[in-house]
Symmetry: C2
Subunit: 344 residues, 2 copies
Amino acid sequence: MHRPGTFNLDDPMARLNEPGPAKTAGQVARGTAKSPTDALPSWNEGRTKRSIIEFVERVTAHSGPDFVAPSQRIAVFDNDGCLWAEQPMYSQLAFAIDRVKALAPEHPEWRAKEPFASLLKGDLKSALAGGEHAAAEIVAVSHAGMTTDAFQRAVREWTRSAQHPKLKRRYVELVYRPMLELLRYLRANSFKTFIVTAGGVEFVRTWAEDVYGIPPEQVVGSVGKQKFELRSTGPVLVRLPAVDFVDDKAGKPVGIQRFIGRRPIAAFGNSDDDLEMLQWTAAGEGARFVLLVHHTDAEREWAYDRDSHVGKLDKALDEARMKGWAVASMRDDWNTIFADPPRA
Amino acid sequence: MHRPGTFNLDDPMARLNEPGPAKTAGQVARGTAKSPTDALPSWNEGRTKRSIIEFVERVTAHSGPDFVAPSQRIAVFDNDGCLWAEQPMYSQLAFAIDRVKALAPEHPEWRAKEPFASLLKGDLKSALAGGEHAAAEIVAVSHAGMTTDAFQRAVREWTRSAQHPKLKRRYVELVYRPMLELLRYLRANSFKTFIVTAGGVEFVRTWAEDVYGIPPEQVVGSVGKQKFELRSTGPVLVRLPAVDFVDDKAGKPVGIQRFIGRRPIAAFGNSDDDLEMLQWTAAGEGARFVLLVHHTDAEREWAYDRDSHVGKLDKALDEARMKGWAVASMRDDWNTIFADPPRA
């Protein structure tokens, strides 16, 4: 996935089948051994894994009643908590907070203005006491006024260096190995894989191709206003401090229709924020597959669902049980959580 | 391109290499004979055709200095006037006018309200006297309140039957054969081809795959607001009477960044409304290709540029000459204009 002239994020995809370094907690294997031809070796044998494979075999069987033409094999994945870790906060917020700290010398007024004042004092809890509004303001202010090119450079610089405070890995190394295998397995069966995230589309696109093998044009996300300007140095696109579209909850089916233009046949999420996307996918005609990632592994990752502040999973879990959607328990279904760390 | 369960528009792509029926004016060959291995047989030999082929050879030459990785071979095409005819009015407006007429019995109030009153009296000129605003209102009102599924059915029904008043062909048969060849030639060289249109994205997506071989997710266009609703019959997306994003002029680079997320290396347009898209494409680093289709053939299609109401080409023509962009003269560069009509 390395493109000339761009930063190579030590693509975890490329390393899936290589012998890794000594295993850390996240890599300790659980469950049964896999055959070498298994496309999903990090998934334990059982109902969840079987349901994935049975669905793919049904829609790809040329003579079967559930055959779906390749052009219609659209699979959508939530990002935070589904493809990579989302605790204790969404990575884009961590990026925005780091941007605010870096930009603070140019903004003395922030020392007297919340949520920036608390943030700059290191009091994250007070800074985020304003909830989603405070977080959105931090993100909007820290991203505005940049050209798209400068924004991409800033994100690349950050993903190259910033580390998760607890796991001591770079954020782009917090991707789930079973989900990377699943993405690759679906693509090998002519699925087109899309991310559908509440995160900023430009943030996720910067690294999604290196990390997931998903090109920019297959990332659907929240969109900020931008403006085209002809400068003396040439044309630029400038980010404005205003949100144009929020790709979350009931916005996810709208985002799918807007960006992709047809209904997916498979959808993967992990929280109530994905519920409408899963409903929209499940309600289409023909074979459908819907799966929730359930965070049940306090030892290797985190365990949270109905009462969680980030990634709350309550109504969608009930609906999954009622409608027979697949639920992947991290503890029971995944023998490995994280993709291998990059070679030092 | 026929998908199970959807309407087959007698894909002109599939017919490109078949012997067609007796030629009509649009099919009369001009210029020199082509070799059977020529990927662009409807293009006359000359500077324009040569510039296309030279560009493609440069960016695909593995060992050359201008090589571009396949994932970055993004080519964008305006639709109206670039891929199909746009005179005397954009086809989506023709569709909307037909919708207004069909819906009129349910809307007695339209008989006293412009632009609908004039429209229903058959006085198109007065109806459109309000310019873009009147046209936009006709489009918005005639499309609102429908579910996305119902809208797609209405467009399919219309494309199957409605005829262009002058050319006496269905609108989907007004596509330019040289441009179909060009789309196919680029795709054969691992380009990903996108439409970037001021037209409604849902309108164009309904037939773009059948007609151009371009899937819905590769159509960028103007976007109306939509709402997700859980009805007793299941979830639906409903079109609201409000425009969310206008993918025209300076909006085109914004739309490209929003939907595709990376800068194209080739762009094709035909009017001043495409100028910013062409500037944005041309200003990227590395090899670039920019082409204007110039409507110069009053005999086989139309001849118009600087003074035209629809598809005005003035500033962009000057900039093309100044910057050395390619300009395809329909009269001189194309030996055939339209793709073959469908087999009766």
